[in-house]
């Protein structure tokens, strides 16, 4: 595999709110290898989007700030780059696809301009040539009649089509990493698989690494090489996808998996698995964030915070409880 393309170390992102400062991502560390698909799973509010946005320094500030950590990409810490250098990464080396296709495209710019824009800005390609490249990309995401679509506007498209355009836009500069933040959550179930298949196929062909954020376990099973499970802003377990399914070690992951009827089931299965409410990030307990909802919790879980520790060379978990008890 070689060196990982992205190394996140101790990433901590905080938000100032009227209820005090909360830690949306707490000391997260993980790698993404060249060409692999890493899924980040977790309930809504567990810090998945904030993790993704922090990598490209897109956290709105105020109220947010990246309080600690490193994001090493191509040997450089993205968190320390000056503005011009981070701009040179965004949309060029690392592209991002967002959850809301309906609102993530500019309503007053033509589709052609929006797809061609990163090529024009990063590669200094003249508009005419960039638009030609955009035509290729638009047919690549299987939108028929690409040439005549250049002059059309986002409002003329359905959500699924817009997400295809977002994908086309992300491919313009042949990035080595694409971060897709719940790219299908807002779409019809029937369209979801099409979009994910497309994304998977294109990243495979181009050898692009994919960070796929989702709260849909069916997606994880079908598309991911490796899985990172987040809870309350922390990574609680990470393992190769097969291994995670076979032998989950964190009670939260177990809860997630048992709530899914079939492991390789259809996409569309949402995570509303475990009794109780997701944690309030502004009022986290001193111990494990999951302890209040955990059936396996022991005394220690309530006042000591478990660290992410290896169970095997590829598998890590943050839990005090004996793995056998969890099963």
């Amino acid at each position: 595999m070689g060196a990982p393309i992205l190394q996140v170390r101790g990433l901590t992102t905080r938000f100032r709110t009227d209820r005090g400062e909360l830690t949306a991502v707490d000391d997260a560390s993980f790698d993404v290898d060249r060409g692999e698909t890493v899924a980040i799973v977790g309930e809504s509010g567990s810090g998945k989007s904030v993790t993704a946005l922090s990598i490209l320094r897109l956290i709105p500030s105020p109220p947010g700030r990246i309080a600690a950590g490193e994001v090493i990409f191509e040997g450089r810490n993205l968190l320390e780059l000056d503005n011009a250098s981070i701009r040179d990464i965004r949309g060029n080396k690392i592209a991002m696809i967002f959850q809301e296709p309906m609102s993530s495209l500019n309503p007053s710019l033509s589709v052609g301009i929006q797809v061609a824009e990163p090529i024009h800005e990063h590669r200094r390609t003249p508009w005419a040539a960039a638009l030609e490249k955009a035509t290729e990309l638009i047919s690549r995401v299987r939108i028929p009649d690409a040439q005549s679509r250049l002059a059309s506007f986002p409002h003329q498209y359905s959500g699924g089509m817009r997400q295809r355009i977002m994908i086309a836009m992300s491919l313009g500069c042949a990035p080595s990493l694409i971060i897709a933040d719940e790219p299908t959550t807002a779409l019809d179930v029937t369209v979801q698989a099409q979009i994910l298949d497309l994304l998977k196929q294109i990243t495979k062909e181009t050898g692009t690494a994919l960070m796929l954020i989702t709260h849909d376990l069916g997606v994880v099973a079908r598309y991911a090489d490796r899985v990172i499970v987040m809870y309350g802003g922390r990574i609680v377990e990470t393992a190769p996808a097969r291994e995670l399914y076979k032998s989950p070690r964190h009670p939260y992951t177990v809860g997630l998996l048992t709530s899914v009827p079939r492991l390789d089931g259809d996409t569309g299965q949402r995570l509303i698995p475990i009794d109780g409410q997701p944690p309030d990030l502004a009022r986290l307990p001193p111990g494990c964030a999951f302890a209040p909802r955990c059936r396996a919790a022991i005394e220690r879980c309530h006042h000591e915070r478990p660290k992410l520790e290896p169970v095997s060379p590829t598998h890590q978990k943050a839990c005090f409880v004996d793995a056998n008890l969890v099963q």
Binding site: M96, S108, E117, M166
Partner: protein
């Protein structure tokens, strides 16, 4: 699009009909009578005639509806707005001479307003809550609070007291000497324009702040664009749509302001024409000015509605 414009123009007809009727009647209800005025001034033409002869000569002895009918008929069939009651000059001639001057002043003021409002509004939004933003916002409140007739008067009075400088009183038309003309027009245009810019500036700022929070702006950042491109290419166009609407709403204000500026700076536009006509109860001129201004405002609003299509591709004209 063509049918849309045609329908909009057609819709102007009843509006203008009622507007003209109201203006025609109310003008004649202004207290004070043009005949008394003429007789009291011992005007040469008046002194020779008795009161009844004068009334008959001016056509004011006819019933109101007949006067209106003749007046409207003249405009519709011959482009004839009637004669001034005082000078025997066709009103249309006066209007044609004065209109370009007021249009020029209004246009210049509008340009000044936009040049001031949009950049400062944008700056205020992208540097929200900085010192620059506070200064810009205080400036706009000041512009709102200080009436332009006061600023205008100060500009006329103080420089002449301090430096013995005063604006040229003899008006030079644009066609005669553009540079000299612009020198005369720029001061009233700046005073009127900055006064108008206050509201547009605040609206630009508000809309920019709103647009900058949108998902597609985050997309633009994620593409690696510079702040300049994010603002200019992705945000501004979407933020300007309501600002353009505001310009349409402000048009009557602009014309009202132009009347005052013409008065202060002695610029022979329609404002000055109207004011003199009101003093003299010169009904045909008053109604003529109102009619022309009304048409101008309605056309301006049509142009503004059409310009939405350039800013927002979702707009369809049906």
């Amino acid at each position: 699009m063509k049918t849309y414009v045609a329908r909009r123009l057609l819709a102007l007809v009843p509006t203008l009909f009622f507007a003209s009727l109201i203006v025609f009647v109310t003008v004649r209800l202004i207290p004070g009578d043009v005949i008394d005025l003429m007789l009291s001034q011992n005007d040469v033409s008046a002194s020779k005639l008795t009161r009844d002869q004068l009334v008959a000569a001016l056509g004011l002895d006819r019933p109101m509806w007949e006067q209106y009918g003749r007046w409207m008929g003249g405009i519709l069939f011959r482009g004839d707005f009637g004669q001034s009651l005082w000078q025997s000059v066709p009103v249309s001639e006066l209007l044609l001479a004065r209109m370009p001057v007021t249009l020029e002043l209004g246009l210049l003021a509008l340009i000044v307003a936009l040049i001031v409002a949009i950049p400062i509004g944008v700056y205020s939004a992208i540097r929200q809550d900085t010192t620059g933003d506070y200064i810009a916002r205080s400036f706009s409140i000041l512009m709102l609070a200080v009436p332009s007739f006061w600023t205008g008067t100060m500009v006329m009075v103080f420089p002449s007291i301090w430096w013995g400088w005063s604006p040229e009183v003899r008006f030079v038309p644009f066609t005669e000497n553009p540079i000299q003309n612009l020198k005369q027009m720029i001061l009233p245009a700046i005073i009127l324009g900055t006064a108008l810019s206050a509201v547009s500036m605040r609206l630009t700022r508000t809309m920019m702040l709103e647009v900058l929070r949108q998902d597609y702006i985050r997309t633009a950042w994620a593409k690696g664009l510079s702040e300049r491109l994010v603002v200019a290419r992705h945000a501004l166009r979407n933020a300007l749509i309501p600002v353009v609407t505001l310009i349409g709403v402000q048009a009557p204000l602009l014309i009202g302001g132009a009347v005052i500026m013409e008065q202060i700076f002695v610029i022979p536009g329609m404002g000055l024409l109207l004011l003199d006509a009101v003093y003299q109860r010169d009904y045909p001129i008053i109604t003529g000015v109102f009619l022309v201004v009304g048409v101008a405002i309605m056309l301006l609003n049509l142009v503004i509605d059409l310009s939405y299509g350039l800013l927002d591709p979702r707009v369809r004209y049906r």
